[in-house]
Symmetry: D2
Subunit: 339 residues, 4 copies
C-alpha cells in the first residue's frame, strides 16, 4: 500500500501518516519526489485497511490495488529516471557502455581490462571483488585488495566503478568506495541485502534473478526504493530455460517490458547471459537496437587465463571493434553514446 501526499502536504502531515502506520505495527518509508511525496507502507496490509488515510490532512490518494510495485512504477512517475554513476548518466537520453573484468584477479589484469574498456568507449567500469560462485571450489574474489585495485583503475581511467556486494556486512564499505553498488543474480531476492542497499546514497544496479519474472524483478527494486534510494538501474542478464546452448536465455523482450513498466533505466549484460564469447557482440548490438539504456561487457586481456568466466570475455581488440559497432547501431536508432 502506498499513500500519495498532496503537493502542498506539510512535514507534519507526512509524519502523521507515518505515525498511524507504526501504531498499526507497520513501517512507513517516505520518499520525497519533486512533485509528490510518497509513503510506502510495510507490514500487514490487512491492518492498514482500517486506517482512514484518505481523511487525513495532506493525503492525496491511496494506492491499494493493481501492480505489486508502486514506487518504481511508471504510472506514478511517467518521466523516465536518469541515474548518474559518477558523472556518467544512465538513462533513456543516451546509451552507455559499461565494461571491465568480470573479477579483479590482479592489478595488472585489472588495468589491462579497464584501459581496454575505456579505449573502446566505456564510460563506466565493472569489476568484482566478491564473487558469488556456484561451487565453493571456485575462485571467490580478492576482497579488500580487489577494491583497492579497482580504486586505482578509477584513478587511472577517470571512470566510475560498479562493484557487486554479496552480503549486508559489505554494503557500507563498498558504498564508500564504489560509484555504484550491484546486487547480483543469485541475491536478487535476498531481501535483507536489498533493504540494506536501499539505505545507502549510491546508485544500485539490480540484476534480474535467474527465475524471476519481470514483475518480481520490479518488486525487488521496490524493496530498494522503499528504503529511500530510487537511484536504481535494472540489469537483464538472462533467465534460466531448457536451452543448453547458451548459459542462460537472454530475455531482450523482458528488458523492453521492464522499460515500459518502470521509469528506471534498464540495461543488459550480454556476457553473463550467453556465456559465450562469440555471441557477446551480436547480443550487445541487439540490446542497443531494442532500446536498452546500456550494455555491460566482460573484458579480459587473456581470457584463457581468467579465473572467472573466461569463455565469455572479449579481448581488448574485440572490445574495440564492438565499441565501434555499438556506436553505429546506437546512431541508427537515434541514441547518442556517452563519451
Amino acid at each position: 500500500m502506498v499513500v500519495v501526499m498532496k503537493q502542498e502536504a506539510s512535514d507534519a502531515d507526512i509524519e502523521a501518516v507515518a505515525e498511524k502506520v507504526r501504531a498499526a505495527g507497520g513501517e512507513a518509508f517516505v520518499s520525497r519526489g519533486t512533485v509528490h511525496t510518497i509513503i510506502g507502507l510495510v507490514g500487514d496490509t490487512a491492518r492498514f485497511q482500517t486506517i482512514p488515510f484518505k481523511q487525513m490532512p495532506g493525503v492525496d490518494h491511496v494506492i491499494q490495488v493493481g501492480k505489486p510495485y508502486k514506487m518504481v512504477a511508471r504510472d506514478l512517475h511517467p518521466e523516465t529516471t536518469t541515474v548518474k554513476v559518477g558523472t556518467t548518466p544512465v538513462g533513456r537520453d543516451s546509451f552507455t557502455i559499461i565494461a571491465g573484468p568480470c573479477a579483479v584477479e590482479s592489478a595488472d589484469q585489472a588495468f589491462a581490462a579497464t584501459r581496454a574498456a575505456k579505449a573502446a568507449g566505456a564510460t563506466i567500469l565493472r569489476g568484482d571483488v566478491y564473487k558469488p560462485r556456484t561451487s565453493p571450489y571456485s575462485f571467490q574474489g580478492l576482497g579488500e585488495l580487489g577494491l583497492e585495485i579497482l580504486a586505482e583503475c578509477r584513478r587511472d581511467t577517470g571512470l566510475p566503478i560498479i562493484v557487486e556486494v554479496v552480503d549486508v556486512s559489505q554494503v557500507e564499505h563498498v558504498a564508500e568506495i564504489a560509484d555504484c553498488i550491484r546486487v547480483g543474480t543469485r541475491n536478487a531476492q535476498n531481501f535483507e541485502l536489498l533493504k540494506e542497499v536501499g539505505q545507502t546514497h549510491k546508485p544500485v544496479m539490480l540484476k534480474r534473478g535467474l527465475a524471476m519474472t519481470v514483475e518480481e524483478w520490479l518488486q525487488a527494486a521496490e524493496y530498494v526504493a522503499q528504503r529511500g534510494n530510487s537511484e536504481i538501474i535494472l540489469c537483464e542478464r538472462g533467465i534460466r530455460t531448457f536451452e543448453p546452448s547458451t548459459r542462460n536465455t537472454l530475455d531482450l523482450a523482458g528488458m523492453a517490458v521492464a522499460q515500459r513498466e518502470t521509469h528506471l533505466p534498464v540495461i543488459v549484460d550480454p556476457s553473463h547471459a550467453v556465456g559465450k564469447h562469440d555471441l557477446v557482440a551480436p547480443m550487445s548490438l541487439a540490446s542497443v537496437a531494442a532500446g536498452a539504456d546500456a550494455v555491460m561487457i566482460d573484458v579480459h586481456a587473456d581470457p584463457d587465463q581468467a579465473l572467472c568466466d573466461g569463455p565469455q570475455a572479449l579481448t581488448p581488440d574485440e572490445m574495440m571493434l564492438l565499441g565501434r559497432e555499438l556506436e553505429a547501431v546506437a546512431a541508427a536508432v537515434g541514441r547518442p553514446v556517452n563519451h
Copy 2:
C-alpha cells in the same frame, strides 16, 4: 550416419551404396551438391556399422559420430546457403522483410495487409489459410478460399507468398501454389509432415518448436534435408519459459547459435514471439542487429477486428515506420535490405 561421396563418384557408385543400405533394412537419401554427393542413411544405425562403406568405390568418408544433424551442419557446408523464395533471396548477403496478415480472413483484409507490407519494404508475403489453434473454438482458417485470395495478393503485389501447412495431405497442393511452405511451431516435430515437405521442390520454412532446443530444431531440419530438399529457412519465434509478460520468450541468442551451427538462413518472427504489438518493433530491430537474415511481421489494417492474434499485429502506419527503422539498423550492421 552420412556417406560422403568423392567428387568423381559415378551414379553407379552412389547407387551401390544406396543398395547396401536398403539391403540392411534402411533407407538411403541422396543429396547431390555442387561438390559432393551426400547419402543420408535412415534406419537402425547399428546395422549399418557392419557395412564396409569406406572400402566401396567412390566413397570419400563416412560421418558417424558428433552432431546429430549432418546435412544441415555448417561443418560439411562451410558456405552459407541462400534460399530463394520466388525471386527474393533469403541469406546472409542481404536482409529480407517478410510481412502480411497472420491469417487470411477475407480478400479485403488480405489486400490491405499485403499492400501495406509491400509499401513498407517487404519482399515476401506471409498469410495463413490453415491455422493450428490451441482451442478448437478459435477461427481455423479459410482453407482453399484463402489460398485463392493469397494468390491474388501475389498477382497484385508481385511478391512471393509463404503459407503454412498443417497436415501431410495439404503439402502437395500448397506446394503448387505457394512460393514457400511453412511448418509451424506446433508441428515442428511432426516428423511425417517434415518428411513430406522434404519431398517437394519448394523452399520450406521451419519454425522452432516451443520446447525445442537449437539442436533438436536442426535435427528437424535434417528430416527435411534428408528427403532431398535443402532449401530450408529456419525461423526462431520464441520458446516457452516461466515469464508471463510476453507470449513466449524470444531467444535471439538461439537464433545466433543456429546461424553458427548451420549453413541455412535463420530468421526471426518477433510478432508471434512476443504477442504484443508494442514490442514487435524493438524486437525486429534487435533481430537485424543480431544478424538475423530476415524478420517476419504480422500486419493488419484493423488489429482490433482480427480473427487471429490481433494484439500482435502492426497497423500499416506502424509497419511503414518499422520498415524505415529496419533499413537504418540494417545499414548500420552492413546488411543491404532486399528491395
Copy 3:
C-alpha cells in the same frame, strides 16, 4: 462456444441449432450424453454471438465464457468417466498397470516384454510401431510388421494393446487393429491428427506435450471430444524444464490438476518422463499414491540392446517387483488394481 440442450430436446431441435451454426459459416459437433446433448461450435465465435440460441426450442443454456475447454470439463460432467481399453477399465474406481516394449523391434523381443508385463500385473499392453524420433538417424519403427507382431502378443496374452499413430493416414488402419490409439507428445498439438482420431470409435490416449500447460492439454482433448469421441485417456509424461538430470520433469501435480479439471481418466508414463531406469519405480509408486488412474511402463528383456529408449526400460524382474510394490501402495490409498 457450447450449446447445452434440455433433456427433452428433440432431434429436430438439435438439428435446428446445428443448421444455424452452419449458416454462420461454422461447424456444429453434436455429443449425445446420458442426460444432456451438447453441441460444440467451431469457427468464428464472433459470428455466433448474433444467433439467438437461447430463444430456440430445446436449448437449455449456452456456455460462452470461462474455461477454453468444455466437453472435457468436469463442470459439465461431474461424474468421472471410465474408459474401457478392450475389457480393461481405466478410471478412478481402480488402478491399471500398462506395460510393454517402448518400440516393437522383433517378435521375440515383443513377446518377452509383453509376457513380462502380464506376469507383473499389467492388464493393457503398450508397444509402438511408428516412432517419432528426434533424429532422422534413429530407428523409426517396424510399421505394419510391428502391428502384426503386436496383434500376436495380444492373442498370446489376452490383453488389449495401445499403439501410437504419427500421421492422419495411419489412423484408420491402426484403429482397426489396436484397442486404443495413442497421440504422442510431439503430436500433442497436431490438430489435424487430433481431429482424425476424434472420428474413430476407439479410445484415444493423449499424451501431454513437452511445453503444454494443463489447460492447453485439455484443449487438445477437446479437439478429440468435439469430433464425437469422448473415450479419452490423458497421459502425463514430463514437461521440459531446465533440470538436466532427468529427461523431462515429471509433473505429478499437473496430473492431479488435470484430474480435478476434467472428468477423463489421467495416467502417468514415468518411463518417458524420467528416462532413467532406476527412477521408474519410485515415480510409479508416487503416481499411484498421488491418485493417477494408471501407469504405463517400458519393459525390455535386454535393455542394453534396445533400439529405442533402452536406458529407461525395466527388465522383467524389475517389472515383477514393481508390480508387487504398486499393488501395496494402491491398497494403501484404497485403489484396487485391475487383474
Copy 4:
C-alpha cells in the same frame, strides 16, 4: 579439490596440508569423519595443482575431477546420513512428518497450528518469524517475538522447531534457539549465508532454489559442509516452469536424483511447491511413496485469515486425515513413521 587423509593421519599431517593450501592463497576446511578426515580446498584450484599433496604424510588421495561437490557426495560417504533435529531422526530408516504454521502470526495461531501438527503425527515443528516475501508490502514476520512464541510451542508440544534465517546477522541467535536452521529458496545461492550456517552446530535445512539444478543444489550444500557442518537436510519445494496451474512444479524425480547423489537426507515441502490446498495431500503421499525422508506441511487453524500463504495451508482436520494416510503409504513402502 578435496584431500582425503588416511585413517591414521595425525593432526600434524592435517595441519601441514592446510598450511600448504593457505600458502597458495587458499583456504582449507577440515572435516573430521569417523573414518577419514577430509580437507576441502577453496580458492584458485589452478594454484593447488602444483602442490604435491599425494607425497605428503598422511594423505590418502586427492579428488580433483568429477562432480563439483565432494563432501556431500555419496561416492565418498556410501552410507546415508541421519540428521537429528532435537531427538527426531531424519534419514532413510524412518519417515518424518514436519508440520506447523507457515509464518508465526500470534501465540494463539501458532499454538493451534503446532498442536494440530503434533496430533496428526508430526515430530518436528515448522514456523517462520522472518519471511522473505516477494513484495515489500507483504507481512514480513514477527521477528524476535515470533521466536519466543515458537519456543513456547516447543515447550508445549515437546517437539523440536525449524526456523528460517534470511540474513547472516540472524544466524547465531536463531541457532541458539531453534533445533534446525533453514535456508530458504530465495537464499539458496546466498553463499555468505550458507557459509555462516556452516559454522553453527545446529542442523541446517537447505531448500532448493527455484532455478537450481540438482547439481547446483548439492554445490550449495557443499558450501555448508565445507565449513564443518555436515548435518544438512535437503528440501525439494518445486522449481519454476511454464506451468501456471501450480505455484511451482514439484520435482519429485529431482528429489530422487538427489537421494542417489548424496548421502544426506532429502525431504519434500509439498505446500510451497503447489501452493494449493487440495493438492497438498496427494503430493505428500506421492513424496513418501517416492522415498522422501520427510514431508513438511503448512497448517493453519483458519487459512482464510492467514497472513502468509493461506491458500496452501491444511486445516487441523485435513492435517489429521493426511497423517493417517501418510502412515498407510509409508507402511506400504516399508518406512516406519517416527512417533
